[in-house]
Amino acid sequence: MESTIVKAENYNSYFGDNHVVKDVNISINRNEVIAVMGPSGCGKTTFLRGINRMHELIPNATSKGKILLDGENVYDMNAIYVRAKIGMVFQRPNPFPNLSIYENVVAGYLLNGIKVSKADRDVIVEKSLTSAALWKEVKDSLHKKGTFLSGGQQQRLCIARAIAMEPELILFDEPTSALDPISTSSVEQLFHELKEKYTLIIVTHNMQQAARVSDRTAFFYMGELVEFDDTKQMFTNPADQRTQNYITGRFS
């Protein structure tokens, strides 16, 4: 059964006078993997950061329009609550350097001062790390600092940290752009498994990656959502000339 989890209605973002995301309308279903691709500066990351209201943290940044999460406009909700509800993974792995691997996974609880019993915490840590395909590698060094891990492991730790908060939706902002090919493939592998439980929106400038991991792809160009379709359809038979040009490498 398909049900909408995120819906953007006439969504616009600005940096000062600079109109970066223009009138985007998009509807994303539960348990889908959505790739958002487009050339640099096309507004894909800005759009992503609008969904969990990270965009507005940048000075001068504003937005207009609605983003509905389960039918409710996130801009009518408390920003803190929205961010806690939606997971996010960034371009560069950013585990908390002052916390151990264990603490990093439950950082969402620790830093928010949410009381969780030791037993429950142990369960959350094991479950999240297992889901992030990292448990086997780190189960004997849970109390070491997270920054001692390799880049790919750190990124999976960040994914575990997001999963631990039990979000329905996880946003990925070019999650593999700072990783080597092997780490990249392990993270991509993970997307397939995460899909069972979560909805994933992945911003990527890597077309092959979009083709490999996503069910549907959104193509952004100059701040507009040009095309949003089944990934296969889009890569074999795009409807819009601009998509065609991008896919065939006429511009990047």
Partner: protein, 281 residues
């Protein structure tokens, strides 16, 4: 051509020799001061010296217990005042570097750092000592706190500014409110840097005499009352070194030695802390 290259090499060697020489030269003043004070001071230091108040003129013996206790109390109070204020201001400056307030308060911090310590002493005298009608340890602490502030503020600011923005984003994206992001993530990650700034500022004020001349004043008795005049190490050195008695000169040398050791140890501890507690980013 070959001769030309040879000449250039010689120039390089000479240049390198010059910078090595000066790098070595600057260690000399410290070594000379250290050796001299150790030579003059170390034989005056013993248990009696550390646990007794100065003897009246004409009597032998006596120590610097009043100054040790006084310095400890006043520096502690100054730290209690300056650390929270300085850290809060430093956090603001690093978080909002582009605001007008940050520009002007940053400017004030720089100017405050350049205000001569004796001026700070005089100002505190008119603010606090005069209205209260008596010299007091607390007024001395306030003067010292003002001396401490710029160092704490700038070290906090500079440490926190070096932390990557991604760290803050990581916490914010988990729905952590701003104050918790700062207190639980940003400050702990910059803790080593902030702490070393605090230690250095303490090392700086522990030897300050001028701000205390008109505030804590000094006292030949062991006192722990913060509303009363209190002795301090640098002030004791100042009064005893300018006295005409040899006994008192020895006391001053001993006190100098103790003070120098404090500063030395503080600096070494700071170095160790920064190396050990530095968060690996």
């Amino acid at each position: 051509m070959e001769a030309r290259i040879g000449f250039r090499n010689t120039k390089s060697v000479i240049f390198k020799g010059i910078i090595v020489f000066f790098a070595f030269l600057i260690t000399l003043p410290l070594i000379i001061i250290l050796l001299y004070i150790i030579k003059q001071g170390v034989m005056n230091v013993n248990w009696h010296f550390l646990t007794h108040v100065p003897a009246p003129v004409g009597e032998t013996g006596g120590g610097i217990a009043n100054a040790l206790v006084g310095s400890f109390i006043m520096v502690l109070m100054a730290a209690i005042i300056a650390i929270p204020v300085g850290m809060a201001a430093g956090i603001y400056l690093s978080e909002n570097p582009k605001t007008k307030l940050a520009y002007y308060s940053g400017l004030c911090v720089d100017i405050l750092q350049g205000v001569p310590s004796i001026v700070v002493g005089i100002v505190v005298y008119f603010w606090i000592v005069k209205p209260l009608g008596t010299f007091s340890a607390i007024s001395g602490s306030i003067a010292l706190a003002i001396m401490m502030l710029p160092i704490v503020i700038r070290s906090t600011e500079q440490t926190l500014r070096l932390l990557p923005a991604s760290l803050k984003e990581a916490a914010l994206s988990l729905g952590v409110p701003y104050h918790r992001v700062i207190l639980k993530v940003i400050v702990p990650c910059g803790f080593a840097g902030i702490l070393s700034g605090i230690m250095l500022s303490i090392a700086r004020i522990i030897g300050e005499t001028a701000p205390l001349l008109f505030t804590a004043f000094g006292s030949p008795f062991l006192s722990t009352k913060i509303t009363q005049p209190m002795e301090s190490l640098p002030h004791l050195i100042y009064t005893y070194a300018t006295s005409p008695y040899d006994d008192w000169h020895n006391l001053a040398w001993g006190a100098s030695f103790i003070l120098l050791m404090f500063v030395l140890i503080l600096n070494i501890v700071t170095k160790v802390i920064t190396r050990k507690w530095k968060v690996q980013l």
